[in-house]
Symmetry: C2
Subunit: 714 residues, 2 copies
Amino acid sequence: MRISKLYFFVLVFIASNNFAQSLQWTQVAPGVWKGIVGKPEDYDLLKASGAVMNKGALTKLGNVLFPLVQSDIKAIVRDHKTYLTFPLDKAEQIFGFGLNFQTVHQRGKILELHVDNFAGKDNGRTHAPTPFYVSSKGYGVFINAARYIKVYAGTAVRKDSKNPPVAQDRNLDKSWTSRPYSDAVEMLVPADGVELYLFGGPTALDAVRRYNLFNGGGCLPPRWGLGFTQRVQRLYNSEQVEKEAKDFEDKGYPLDFIGLEPGWQSKSYPCTFEWDKTRFPNPQQFVNNMLSKGVRLNLWTNPYVSKESPIYKSISPYTGSHTVWVGEVPDLSLPEARKIFFGQLKKDQINLGVSGYKFDEVDGGDQYLWPDVATFPSGHTAEQMRQTYGLLIMRYSTQVFHDMNKRTFGLVRANNGGGASFPYVIYNDYYNHEDFITALINSGFAGVLWTPEVRASKTGEEWLRRFQSNVFSPMAMINAWSSGTKPWTFPEVAEQVKEFATLRMQMMPYWYTEFAKYHFEGTPPFRAMNLEPGFQTDLGIKKLEANKNLEENPYEEAASKEIKDQYMAGEYLLVAPMFTGQTSRKVILPKGKWYDFYTGEFAGDGQVITVTPGLNKIPVYVKDGGIIPMMPPLLHAPKAGQKVDLEIRHYGEKPGHYLLYDDDGETFNYEKEDYSFREIRTEKRNGQWGGSISAPQRGKPNSIGNVTWKFMTK
Amino acid sequence: MRISKLYFFVLVFIASNNFAQSLQWTQVAPGVWKGIVGKPEDYDLLKASGAVMNKGALTKLGNVLFPLVQSDIKAIVRDHKTYLTFPLDKAEQIFGFGLNFQTVHQRGKILELHVDNFAGKDNGRTHAPTPFYVSSKGYGVFINAARYIKVYAGTAVRKDSKNPPVAQDRNLDKSWTSRPYSDAVEMLVPADGVELYLFGGPTALDAVRRYNLFNGGGCLPPRWGLGFTQRVQRLYNSEQVEKEAKDFEDKGYPLDFIGLEPGWQSKSYPCTFEWDKTRFPNPQQFVNNMLSKGVRLNLWTNPYVSKESPIYKSISPYTGSHTVWVGEVPDLSLPEARKIFFGQLKKDQINLGVSGYKFDEVDGGDQYLWPDVATFPSGHTAEQMRQTYGLLIMRYSTQVFHDMNKRTFGLVRANNGGGASFPYVIYNDYYNHEDFITALINSGFAGVLWTPEVRASKTGEEWLRRFQSNVFSPMAMINAWSSGTKPWTFPEVAEQVKEFATLRMQMMPYWYTEFAKYHFEGTPPFRAMNLEPGFQTDLGIKKLEANKNLEENPYEEAASKEIKDQYMAGEYLLVAPMFTGQTSRKVILPKGKWYDFYTGEFAGDGQVITVTPGLNKIPVYVKDGGIIPMMPPLLHAPKAGQKVDLEIRHYGEKPGHYLLYDDDGETFNYEKEDYSFREIRTEKRNGQWGGSISAPQRGKPNSIGNVTWKFMTK
């Protein structure tokens, strides 16, 4: 017996270290296949996130064929690494690989997917380096590994390529390129095996939907999460915070939740996770006062435990080998650590009525995280912990709220594959408006949410332009932790800012429904034009002409031509932000008729238009037949049970059809079918537009009061 | 028997994968210790470079004690990675970790040592990411692994630290720092074990010397390598090249070798490794013509094999799985590939009289190298090949010349630990003059040579300033491959450029001797002020005040204060380059008297001086007692056997003592003791300065004609 056991051990050792593996595929849901190569690790992204697929919704999306030729997907394990190869067609474009800030087209990139602060250059180091990509051919690939994954996205050229590039002589051949054609996506996963998933189409958006549903569906924020939020300056005390809320109300600016920054805790960097008694002498009364004004609280923290924290002694045995800002790092993959850590948040803050958190500093920047040489009591490596810490802190904080049947909506600096269902929005310290929009576009490929937050600005114009974009994003937020800026700080644009903050509130029924689609159907509420039917018929790799100055561009690198300054917001809206200094811009309207959001006028059809919107408008277009349900300009989101009137807007010539989502807006009762989709129809009869909405379902929450109709296109 | 073998296998497997290893140290030469942990890999930097230590020179440096407490150095193997920890004292500064371009002080850095093009940010990705660091306390550490090594250089803070930082509360404590004190250098080597080396002092320079001698000593270029070199514009034909050489002569500018850029080969990117018949119809005659004018040839190439190359068919079985620019990548760790590759260079070019190569594109930039998923017929991984390709191409090309007993001196884009003895200078496409100087400083810690080459300039001032620095570097070169710029392109500074090119030639006896010291004694000819006695008594970590604008600097990061704009050139010279736009600058003179290089006047002693040298001068200072041997302003380096007169300059008040190196300047006969050091002495007797030089040694080469003396300090 002993001998045969040893034989087995040796054979496993040899097999998992040195030899080629055959990739085994099994269908796990309609349109979703799991592949296994080698010996996948015990701990991975899905284990960390605990994601449970929405099999019902996946089944609804229907069966499709395996979208690639199986033998074209290759896997081999050697040198304790898994080598993966996927085919690429000539005309194929690929998207995804996480929250990239500068490029939408990923074909031609080399990335190392690595949870990190975005440091100004897309190289795979980002807040959500989701190992998932989508092809324009209508399929998606997800690598379920909590490791730093090297990606060659159509860059590596194999000698044995089926479609090798033709060699060109750089001496005289003007068609020479520094980046020869590659017909493969190749990846290196530093593990002795890996589990991967393939998602079918037929469209790229279908593949994205399947990926999100496989992750349990996108998050459904509470209604109040879609209102407006201001993060006050650090070190504010309870009086200052209450005054801030009063100022918003007095001046007529909407406000649903306020974020407290460092200073609410007795110590920060590292943290104590308890209220500071001098600035917040009576936390319960403070929270009550705020809630009574209709304003919830979100608390900043990082997870690094100060020796002064009441949980220090108990959690210390469950922390990693290294400190961050001299604070110990809870091993949140251990139940013991979670119980202590989240127990403290619950006892000291959530039980008082605090509505959510901003989990800061879980992304890295290398200097601001544990090193790769750290070890953790769970036995997970520093690398695995880094790739999953955001998942863990989102998962288990959400669990606390879930156990109380209260939704939360917060901020986080790290996410990854498996995290689509968590009610957290990513933010960072970077502050380029253009790149913020690119990130918003890419968030839709990564199963994450991103806010192009507004912090400070040099001019009123910049302030307003950033604010306008922010209103068409998952979280409308001013983050004044450092600057103390208010919406009205620039008097010359204070009215316009108020107008857009108000518009955000009016559009809440639309946003809420679009998030419900994210949850129940997997459709990202904010996403790339490339997922929109009729956008760009040629998805091939277009290149701009190379800079021919060899001193500046020695490899004659051509730039990729891609659209990263306009995006889709919900089913119907096309948003084209204006950036500081711009007075006009080009907008690409996909095929089909598009209408001006503000006036209802016809804007174009499958064409490039140039618009000069003035400072007061951000260009927004509505698809033909689009329905935008609006509510009155409240200063706070409707509470559970509160009825609000609707003005349902219709755009264009086509009849409208919309399923308006409704539930209590605050609890998880929707998980028990306690929600409804009300059917809205608009059509022209006898030259006259009219609309109808289905009756409320018996026994389901109903927040809709009177309904009026507005047909925007004359 | 079988059972016990299996037991052994299993035990090795367990031991090398999961458990702590004890580090075993053995002394391999006086002041040099080898440490072993786990199971080091078969292929490493020293195996690739073939470096053979100069035990005689190491023995001469003498015995010292093991410079650290052995138990403070920790090593453990887990997750197929080796974790290393080395101690750091409070006041200790560390230097090295390869050819960094922006910082000299490495304490506080996080790096991944990775052969790559330098992309504008010091992060360990550079042309020579030598895994070697030197401490101000006087010891050095070298990790002999051909892997991407993660380095936490005094950044990671362990819970079990002996000297933990004190937690500070960021809320209100103004002394809070984003980067708490760390008392360790930690590294992660992705291998199941590693071989490492410790080098004793007592000074940091001694540790550097030991490292270089352990690598076989620094390279000794041929004399002509220290002259001036011009790289002509790409696609030049033989007539144009000959005319270029004639222009230099006609105008009176020195020129020792000309570099040909893409175009001399029939095809480039990928390459054929044979002359282009249209541009170079008669290569032998062309080479002869050039040599007869005293001008040698250096040929650009990259190693990527075109299908049109005469060696394609034979070498293809010995190339990697992936192509670079559609060219196949010779596995130069295989003798078969080397024989074919270098055989072609020898047959087609070296046998004709070509004197050297510029091996381009062996560094990376990721897009321009094989991917990490590539495999090679030798079985070495893509990572191992990337870390060593520069070593391999330098080693075996040098071997070809060595076999012919002719020295070579060339250019390369990648080097690494083990490569100090190869006669190659690193260059790249980056072009920041300030950062070029920082790289020159760091080259001295990395066992490599670097040229701050001159390519193009916007103004005559920039041209001259860059040229002045270039003359005080390992290779005085204009690289006009793209611009076609000549030394006289800016007429307003053409005379000054000629003056400095001429100065380079006059100083050849000094440069040649200083390189001999690099070879025989290990002292880098170009090095940091930090290695100079009397420079900076306080080597602690000085910080500049942090930018207090939290919007711009959210982590309140302080900048490190370090000297990276002046350096030592040879034993006596302190060079303080001027950058475009500067009219004056500060120079830190170490303790001891320093004199102006041009006038011999006293400049200062252990103080900061401000100088306003005008456009015609680069500030250079000579140490008290400094001897600078100069030769007449020849246009070409003296040939073997040619005698040149010497003017020996003495600076300052102290008597001078110098060992002047001499050999034939062209062959490897110096390896057979066929060289001499002539002793120069200067002293004041009866108020009168006088000098003496020892007689030539019988049977040794003697290149010295008449000697005159110049006592620069009045």
